[in-house]
Symmetry: C2
Subunit: 441 residues, 2 copies
């Protein structure tokens, strides 16, 4: 057994659902007991100490905060090379930058190298679970699962389905997409901590036939997820209306193909109408809110309040490469700004919930991860509360855990991540940075 001693905070419930202070647990001098990759106990150090067995290794941290690993509900592993590409909105973004970058993943060596780089960036930023778009290539998806399996990460991913309105080199067919997905499901779904998501990019790049077959995959494989994009950009919405003239709404395009359910996650959802909010809520589907991407691509301001008050599951997504940071702190920073522009501030506990337990709930994984309750898989972070002089100064002035979380969400970046643990094992530790370097005489 291993015991970790530091301040600890995690969420037990959604704070927007009126549970008040019982929505989170905070231990100023806390302990986390891990046994065989699983949380055995969490609580005040005085209590945890008594539960240690002989030989338990004690890891004690100064000026640190232990939190659950972050959950990123929307990200593209092949898009690292297009982060910070200039000047366009969604549809041109895909054609000018994304599709050329994704074509390179036809090369297996490139795909393997980028899968490693991608997962290491996630861990460096404290993200221990993600819902990931691969490319259209079966082998590139396979490679990503392999790399995640090596790291024992909990990950959901899928091969992109795309049979039109994209370069020929990136198109599958309804049948080949179906067959490749089925093979990947067979190989990876339920293996280690991995799950599969059927992944039609969006209604523009999938024919009605392909969406039908995607729906069939969901019906044929128990527990498989569905991920796609929806209502991100006005021109995209107009194009979907043109391509599916008989569909009453964008959501109904997916719903009609059997892609709307409680294991479905829709990225963006910025310009929904009432019936679409209702439809998502009734289906128990999830939304990934991707603020840095929505601002960077000029897509618009997601209506978080509406989604939450409708009871829709919402998590945060970095949406790399439309998003501008792998950091869930930076994502919380801009989520706050989106909400401020809409006239209602985002509470820091709510924001922290979205990045942890809310994300897990959006992925139907809240029985496994999302907080540090006993029995959960031990994905957690040791945050360095002295990451930078400005951060150390400012957080020292924040008396309550709410305020501390808010300071972290506004000033934080990857430097806050002192150590990342996956399934109880340390997989990342920040390099030491000496404050002064002197020469001995």
């Amino acid at each position: 057994m291993d015991a970790y001693r530091a301040a600890i905070v995690h969420m037990l419930h959604d704070p927007s659902q009126g549970r008040g202070d019982t929505a989170h647990e905070y231990f100023a001098d806390g302990g986390l007991l891990i046994d065989n990759g699983v949380v055995a106990a969490v609580g005040a150090w005085a209590d945890i100490k008594r539960q240690m067995t002989r030989g338990t290794q004690v890891h004690q941290f100064k000026n640190a905060l232990i939190v659950p690993g972050f959950v990123d509900t929307h990200i593209h592993y092949p898009q690292i090379d297009v982060i910070a590409s200039f000047g366009v909105q969604l549809l041109d973004w895909l054609n000018n930058y994304t599709f050329p970058a994704e074509q390179k993943f036809a090369d297996q060596a490139h795909a393997a190298a980028m899968a490693d780089f991608f997962l290491d960036e996630l861990l460096k930023n404290g993200t221990t679970c993600a819902l990931v778009f691969a490319t259209v290539h079966k082998h590139a998806t396979d490679t990503l699962f392999e790399a995640a399996s090596k790291r024992r990460m909990r990950m959901i991913a899928g091969k992109v389905l795309m049979d039109r309105h994209a370069p020929a080199a990136l198109c599958d067919t309804p049948q080949s997409g179906y067959a490749d997905s089925a093979a990947l499901i067979k190989k990876w779904h339920g293996k280690d901590r991995l799950s599969y998501a059927v992944t039609p990019r969006f209604a523009v790049t999938s024919s009605p036939e392909q969406l039908e077959l995607a729906g069939r995959l969901l019906g044929e494989h128990n527990g498989v997820y569905m991920q796609t994009h929806m209502s991100e950009n006005q021109k995209e919405i107009d194009l979907v209306r043109e391509l599916y003239p008989d569909a009453p709404t964008y959501l109904s395009v997916y719903g009609g193909a059997g892609l709307l359910g409680e294991r479905s996650v829709f990225a963006h959802c910025i310009h929904l109408d009432d019936s679409e909010f209702d439809g998502l809520a009734r289906a128990g589907a999830g939304i990934s809110f991707c603020p840095t991407s929505n601002l960077f691509l000029g897509s618009g301001l997601f209506n978080l309040n509406r989604a939450v008050s409708d009871g829709i599951k919402v998590g945060l997504g970095t949406d790399i490469g439309g998003g501008t940071s792998f950091s869930m702190f930076q994502t919380m920073n801009e989520a706050y700004k989106v909400c401020q522009l809409r006239g209602s501030p985002l509470d820091p506990l709510q924001s922290f919930y979205l990045a942890t337990l809310g994300g897990a709930k959006t992925l139907n994984l809240d029985d496994r991860i999302g907080n540090l309750s006993p029995g959960k898989e031990a994905d957690f972070l040791v945050l360095d509360l002295e990451a930078t002089p400005l951060f150390a100064h400012r957080i020292a002035l924040a008396p309550s855990i709410d305020e501390k979380l808010f300071v972290m969400s506004i000033l934080g970046d990857d430097r806050l991540i002192g150590e990342t643990y996956v399934h109880g094992k340390r997989v990342y530790a920040k390099p030491l940075r000496p404050d002064t370097i002197t020469t001995a005489k």
Copy 2:
């Protein structure tokens, strides 16, 4: 003499004014020759090499980019403690967070410590010149000038004038504000690289009498600046209308008091009407565009295109503590996002111009700083193009200097600042960070 060898980029003109590629100069293998704190020459290394005299120290950098120091056109030195305070918009922000924080500057030791912290943060972020709000306290303003003088920084600052709608402990009177400002002008304006800005916080917290006396200070002292806030938030605008019922516009409140001129800088200017844009343009006044603050406080989206096409001088401001980062890179990141939400992307050369020469022009200092042309004061940065693995990976894929600047503006933060030079002297160098630490056997 000292010679610095690395890639170099700087702006010669405003790229929005149609000068095309002549607006900037880029040297892939460049040289910067500094003599006695002033730029002696800049150009291709092959040319610079020939201009070195015997004994010139040559500083050579690998995978680095030399740029002019950044110019921050709006920032509050007493507001470090309120960065990342939760949940409110402008007027509540002032009352709940800012005024309490500024009251602490009655304590001289606190003011002195914060002045040092503040200027060191600026230098660490590559900002070598700033237009700064102090507090209402004369001694706290004095302390800031002293700290800047010690660092040989070019800085413009002023004591805040505020005689109503603020806690009594933070209020001066029209007469005491006038006298204190005059004394500070006498002591600091034109000393070293320092200038004074008459600083009425905004029309809400200054009576008409105080604004009149502020205008008189400008008339009585040659070359003195004026800085204030304007049209940041709708409730603020309504309140100004109520307090100044006879003024046709917000700008006319300042104009009527003699506060509108070519040495005047107005922060925010988000909700201007046509006559206000015209008035600023005709007066040759400047605007400070503060995107991280405007998003954080939910103030709104500045119309940069309109201001620029009207020929108004515009610079970038971090607006610490309403802003969320000291970094001019992060400020450029969110400037881009504000412009994207308005439907027009911000060109990276234009953005870089705003952060350097455009800022200098806004402060009427473009004859002294803002680029690396011969004769300019040698404020410059050596950027570390390997600052993080992600940054190094991404910038290596950006072939043109435009694209490199864009990647820096989106992914950059203080870690990009390898070294900061003020008036030819190195005042900041990033601590080394070892990639691996091993124990010798």
